[in-house]
């Protein structure tokens, strides 16, 4: 078993052979991957050493102290958080060897082709078709809400390979080359004026069978690995008091006495308390995880933060009065990173509307809490034994 001392020794060796100050960023990242220090819990030869995941912090701390470059994880979050664990679990040896190194270094950006205009909360009803032709699959359909699609080299894709069986059974998981001529990416402009996301149109895209992930018809199960890792990535941050959306409005309140009214004061205090309590609940969840007693509170945290972000930013627009009638900039852009608090109140208000939709709507999350946490009966299902082609649409 690789322990902390061994990881420190290996990290020191990496830094000695490839001094960050004089080494090209990408060369350093490749060397780090090859030394097994990229994600230490991954297997040897795939950027890791089979060490406990909790020891990653040892490597990260040493490298940060030495001023080493990182792989800019926010830019490649879908690859790191969703594609990689799925490839690791279901990929062939060849797929892992070819794909994981450039995924981790960021040379190759990944995106996710899951949601469709007709398959949102009911993702398993997706209709993008993949038809076998010789050694290839020919894919036709439309995907939506795809961040980074315009930057991506690869996509994780789920598509329907058998319309004659119930919806969950007829899905297969693929790795799609975004440079294929049949792939068209169009920006999807949203209510903030910018386009964080894309629509992706797939027209006769040919995917070789060697880029299938998992068995034919087993795509829904494979996708669970991807989606479970998405939820892990959403929770678990540690915030200081006033660390979230409540920070900017509190600052405005302190700096602009002329904007204050009694009504706004009451509402601000109420939201300040709720934000502080949500922060404490998040901290409690984090302490439970550290203590090895994960609780079901995670599903609830996303619900709480979505509502609070919306109410707090809504209050801030109102607080600003005449300025609240203005907007910082409607220019259509395609930002690489999403910043929920970086812009003006109006932007925060509009962007936070997505918080109760993305990564599971609040309505679906309430069902999940009711059924999995409280054990209440599940929704009546009329789609379980019906072939996908016969579903209402």
């Amino acid at each position: 078993m690789t322990d902390a001392a061994e990881l420190k020794r290996r990290t020191a060796e990496l830094l000695a052979v490839h001094p960050p100050a004089t080494t090209d960023r990408m060369d350093f990242l490749k060397a780090r991957f090859d030394a097994g220090l990229a994600w230490v819990h991954y297997p040897e030869g795939l950027g890791g050493l089979g060490a406990p995941r909790s020891l990653q912090v040892v490597v990260d701390t040493e490298l940060e102290a030495a001023g080493a470059p990182d792989n800019d994880p926010r830019r490649i979050g879908i690859g790191l958080g969703m594609a990689a664990p799925t490839i690791l679990k279901y990929g062939t040896e060849e797929q892992k060897q070819r794909l994981l190194r450039p995924l981790w270094t960021g040379e190759e950006v990944w995106c996710q082709l899951f949601s469709e205009p007709g398959a949102g909360s009911d993702l398993a009803a997706l209709g993008t078709r993949a038809v076998r032709e010789g050694g290839d699959w020919v894919v036709n359909g439309q995907k939506v809400w795809t961040s980074s699609a315009h930057l991506a080299r690869w996509a994780i894709l789920i598509a329907r390979t058998d319309p004659d069986v119930p919806k969950h059974a007829g899905i297969t998981y693929f790795l799609c080359d975004m440079t294929d001529p049949g792939v068209e990416v169009r920006p999807l402009r949203q209510i903030t004026g910018e386009a964080e996301f894309n629509e992706v149109f797939l027209t006769d895209v040919r995917i070789p069978d060697s880029r299938r992930l998992g068995e034919v018809g087993d795509g829904w199960r494979v996708a669970q690995t991807t989606l479970n890792n998405e939820r892990v990535a959403i929770g678990g941050m540690r915030l200081p008091r006033e660390g979230g959306m409540i920070g900017p409005v509190s600052k405005t309140w302190r700096e602009r006495p002329e904007l204050r009214t009694h009504d706004l004061h009451q509402r601000l205090l109420k939201l300040w308390v709720e934000a502080e309590v949500a922060r404490l609940a998040g901290e409690r969840l984090r302490q439970q995880l550290v203590a090895g007693q994960p609780g079901p509170e995670g599903a609830g945290m996303k619900l709480a933060f979505a509502r609070l972000n919306q109410e707090i930013s809504g209050l801030e627009v109102e607080l600003r009065g005449e300025e609240g009638l203005l907007y910082d900039d409607w220019t259509m852009r395609r930002p690489e990173l999403v910043d929920f608090v970086g812009r003006d109140a109006g932007y925060r208000y509009l962007r936070s509307k997505g918080n109760s939709i993305e990564g599971g709507t609040s309505e679906v999350l309430l069902n999940i809490v009711a059924e999995r946490v409280l054990g209440l009966p599940s929704e009546p299902r009329t789609d379980k034994d019906v072939a996908w082609k016969d579903l209402a649409r």
Binding site: K270, E283, L366, A370, L374, L376
Partner: protein, 357 residues
Amino acid sequence: MTDLLYSEEEEALRSAVRDLLADHCDAPGVIARTESDAPHDLAAWKALADGMGLAGLLVPEAQGGQGATHREVAVVLEELGRSVAPVPYLTSAVVATEALLACGTEDLLAELASGRRIGALAVALNIAAGGAYKVVRHENGSLHGELTGIADAAAADVLLVPADDGGLYAVDADAATVTPQVSLDLTRPLATVTLNGAPGRLLGDAEPAVRRALRAGAGLLASEQLGVAEWTLTETVRYLKERKQFNRPVGGFQALKHRLAQLWLEVVSLRAAARNAADALATGADVEVAVAVAQAYAAAVAVHAAEEAVQLHAGIGMTWEHPAHLYLKRAKADSIAYGTAGAHREALAELVDLPAP
């Protein structure tokens, strides 16, 4: 950083208290007692205080207590809230004890810690730390006046009475006239305390002692409110899985599932706020903000949970026979006790620099 979890010892304490209350405070018994001449369950109190030594948790061992902290007291209060137990724990083992700790009154502390005597701070239950409270007249060495809204005074052996000379006095309950008031919360009844020349023993300055007592009371009340909310949610969920209408369990209707899921989220949030307040009281760090945040949040959650319990139990929830009303009454009374949520929000406005216009 604040420890928001429960230790193994705290969990063991919880299950011991829960077992004891299961024996003493079952719902039909508590309902019957509310209509008797003895609204306080002194047998349960004796078992908690004498049997388990829980009345002395906040008192150092050198002064005859257990030398524990607010964290353990909070766990006891969660369980007392879960069973709306009619025992003077919050009033004697927390509020009166904190006042005596402020004054350094060793003999009375030891008596309260052992549970041999029950104490009550003679300040109306609705007063928040720092709020104005009524005092009695101190004249020629004896006390005169009437104080109302004194929780658990009917069970008390000794009353801690603030007087107009700024002192806090200990008065034997035998020397006072204690008249029960018809109270909204039948399990924590209020009384009027009338003093007609009662002798009092000066303990110390009233203002800091009362402030300290009410702050601890408010902070730990959040754990009782958590217990009330937790019981009502759990019991409502249990009932709705069982209750069938329209040929299916009522708990399967999405409109109700969503309400219960929202409530669950409020309860887990309250748990974090209540643990934070208990831990802050134990360590002394960030106490004022932690208590104000917990109290600004807890009341609405406990009341919401109890109101939902009545509504979702529907007909049976409206009866005297079903215990839901005990929880509703406790939750509503708790929302006023030691300061309303609004009073605590106002305090926060000062504490975190979000001033009123």
